[in-house]
């Protein structure tokens, strides 16, 4: 077994999967207890691959408390890695994810498992640098993270962390959209950035497509859910393509072309299409709305006013994510989980 003992980070957002889309769409709830179960399955798989130490994000949302209890009551043969909670102030908000990822990177983790929706992964992506992420879905409109069994994700992460698979083939580079306000980069998106005529951030989610004026995507899959489905159903763009897409939108009653798109779970919306064009890296896309809100990966995040200059820029230098299928293929091919006994 490889002797590489760099720890693995685990960031689980206690708040994901509980927003207004339970009310305005038909999104499923994702309780804290299930997130904790996912972490225990991760720990079991990480242990099996030789990971001995895990750094976890502390929270006051119930995950830390449940995880401590699970660790204290684990079976005698479970042999989970030692779990340490990162020492940091807790704000019960997005800053916690950012701070935890920064501290984990500084501590030299080999990989970070992120449990959350697109929004949580957006935060992790902005702080992870070159540390690869295992992106696991526990949110609502999940395009960036995969809906995957945590046990398998744990095996793949452990094999990467312990250096037993070809790291360059085991991870893939993602694209990002960087938002600049008055020339300063303020935030980024890993899937989509939408310009909305909402005036306030409010409850964050978007479910009124008639208020959208522009949509930018890093990639767009035709079977995606969420705002990127609008692009995916018009002009799919792969995660690896060296371009993104901009869609100009209109209220459906004013548009010559309309599209029915699944913008949230169970929510099919009619969207007016005014134009579609490719966007290239480093070409800033100016936003022409006087005021409004920028939604990043499906959540309203930035309120902007008429006097502010807003631009969005595609980057090909986003975070690395672990390619579970590729890792498991290597594991099978090279017999990484096989032991032979005389």
């Amino acid at each position: 077994m490889a002797q590489h003992q760099a720890p693995v980070g685990i960031v689980a957002n206690p708040a994901s999967g509980r927003d207004v889309r339970r009310l305005v769409a038909r999104a499923s709830a994702f309780p804290v207890s299930e997130k904790c179960h996912m972490i225990t399955r991760l720990l079991a798989a990480l242990a099996a691959t030789g990971v001995t130490r895990v750094l976890a994000m502390p929270d006051r949302g119930g995950i830390t408390e449940r995880l401590r209890r699970a660790i204290a009551t684990q079976g005698p043969h479970d042999g989970w890695p030692q779990v340490e909670f990162v020492e940091m102030p807790i704000e019960d908000g997005p800053a916690d994810t950012l701070r935890a990822v920064e501290l984990m990177v500084a501590a030299g983790v080999a990989a970070i498992v992120v449990l959350g929706g697109d929004g949580t992964h957006r935060l992790a992506a902005s702080a992870c640098g070159e540390t690869p992420i295992m992106a696991l879905s526990t949110g609502t409109n999940n395009v960036f993270p995969e809906i995957r069994e945590a046990t398998i994700a744990g095996i793949a992460t452990g094999l990467v962390a312990t250096g037993r698979v070809d790291a360059t083939r085991a991870s893939r580079r993602n694209k990002v959209l960087r938002v600049e306000v008055d020339g300063q980069q303020t935030d980024l998106a890993v899937v989509d950035a939408a310009i909305s005529n909402h005036r306030w951030i409010g409850s964050k989610a978007l479910w009124h497509p008639e208020l959208l004026s522009q949509l930018f995507v890093t990639f767009a899959e035709s079977d995606a859910l969420g705002l990127s489905s609008i692009a995916g159903l018009l002009c799919p763009v792969s995660r690896r393509a060296a371009h993104g897409l901009r869609i100009d939108l209109l209220p459906p009653e004013r548009a010559a072309v309309t599209l029915k798109a699944p913008i949230a779970p169970g929510l099919m919306a009619s969207v007016g299409i005014a134009g579609v064009c490719e966007i290239r890296p480093s070409e800033p896309q100016s936003i022409h709305s006087g005021s409004g809100v920028i939604a990043l990966d499906g959540e309203r995040e930035i309120e902007f006013r008429p006097q502010q200059r807003v631009a969005i820029r595609l980057g090909l230098d986003g975070p690395l994510t672990i390619d579970t299928e590729e890792v498991m293929t290597q594991a099978a091919r090279d017999g990484l989980l096989v032991s032979r006994h005389a």
Binding site: A29, W200, S203, S291
Partner: protein
């Protein structure tokens, strides 16, 4: 729903009125002017305001023992409320209810409640009446995190779901049931998670953010009015004072409230957003604040000058007709 300037001014006036009402009671209670107990709502203003802005005269609310904010947001008279809390005959309940039993049925405010978890069954009744009478009204039950663990609340969630009642359960999770942390007392950390067990939508919202509360509640009220049944909304929020006035709050961290006041205050955040958006001018907010303070001063003066109920009032108002 896009908020107009008038909406924003109304919201600000309501939040500010609740805040100043409670801050003044904090002082008056310490001076020994207020009989009985008071449980102050300061810090939670965005919840009552964001919810009640969607309600009209058809709609009913039930409250908790921390009910002043709910009363004011539902339109109860400031003078009548102050007098009631001072225990005077010109109070909303002729001075016999006080803080914990204050009610104004004419405003659809069915009462603060001394019984933890006492409100939800009443809201179910009000919602059932609205449904049977076809008024188009809804009922909102404000519940604390302590009340949310009571059987009455859980039974009410079930009843509201099976009868598809136009009822909205607003759980104001301020972190402490009296002095017991909800982290200790709740097997389920987020009350919104319980909603799926009752086959209704459950949403968590930042109770410090008027805009978020207003938006989410608007959808819940719309759903209820359309006949699509109940919703559970959990507002994560903080109270600025103890469970009751005089509570030493030894169960809270030393700087807990100070930090929240400095970083998450719902009124300060509202002021910042409303002015930076260009929707309201700072001078308008200042003028509103002055008017509110003057109104509170006036209400306190009237309450102090009024008479207390006498022996002859003992057997009146024992029953209420409706």
């Amino acid at each position: 729903m896009q908020l107009s300037r008038a909406d924003l001014l109304k919201a600000y006036r309501t939040m500010k009125m609740i805040r100043e009402f409670e801050e003044r009671l904090h002082i008056e209670f310490a001076a020994g002017e207020v009989p009985g107990f008071v449980h102050l709502y300061a810090g939670e203003e965005a919840v009552a305001t964001g919810v009640c802005m969607h309600l009209d005269d058809r709609d009913k609310i039930t409250s908790t023992h921390r009910g002043h904010g709910h009363c004011l947001a539902k339109g109860c008279d400031v003078d009548g409320m102050m007098a009631e809390i001072f225990g005077k005959t010109n109070g909303l309940c002729a001075g016999k209810g006080g803080s914990m039993h204050i009610a104004d049925l004419s405003k659809g405010m069915l009462g603060a409640n001394g019984i933890v978890g006492g409100g939800p069954p009443l809201a179910c009744g009000a919602a059932l009446a609205a449904k049977k009478l076809g008024t188009g009204g809804v009922a909102v039950s404000f519940v604390g995190d302590g009340g949310a663990n009571q059987g009455t609340t859980l039974e009410s969630l079930n009843l509201a779901a099976i009868w598809s009642l136009p009822c909205i359960f607003v759980i104001e999770n301020n972190g402490y049931a009296e002095s017991t942390s909800c982290k200790y007392a709740g097997a389920c950390h987020d009350f919104a998670d319980r909603a799926s067990g009752f086959n209704m939508p459950g949403v968590t919202v930042d109770g410090h953010d008027f805009f978020a509360v207003h938006e989410v509640t608007g959808e819940a009220v719309r759903r209820a009015r359309m006949g699509n049944g109940p919703t559970l909304i959990e507002c994560k929020v903080n109270r600025y004072y103890g469970h009751f006035e005089g509570d030493a709050q030894t169960y809270r961290a030393r700087d807990e409230v100070k930090t929240i006041r400095e970083t998450r205050d719902c009124i300060a955040n509202f002021e910042k957003k409303a002015t930076s958006s260009g929707m309201l001018a700072a001078s308008e907010l200042q003028e509103t604040s002055r008017e509110v303070l003057a109104q509170i001063d006036d209400a306190v003066a009237k309450a102090k000058a009024a008479a207390r109920p006498g022996a002859a009032d003992l057997l009146t108002h024992v029953y209420v007709s409706y």
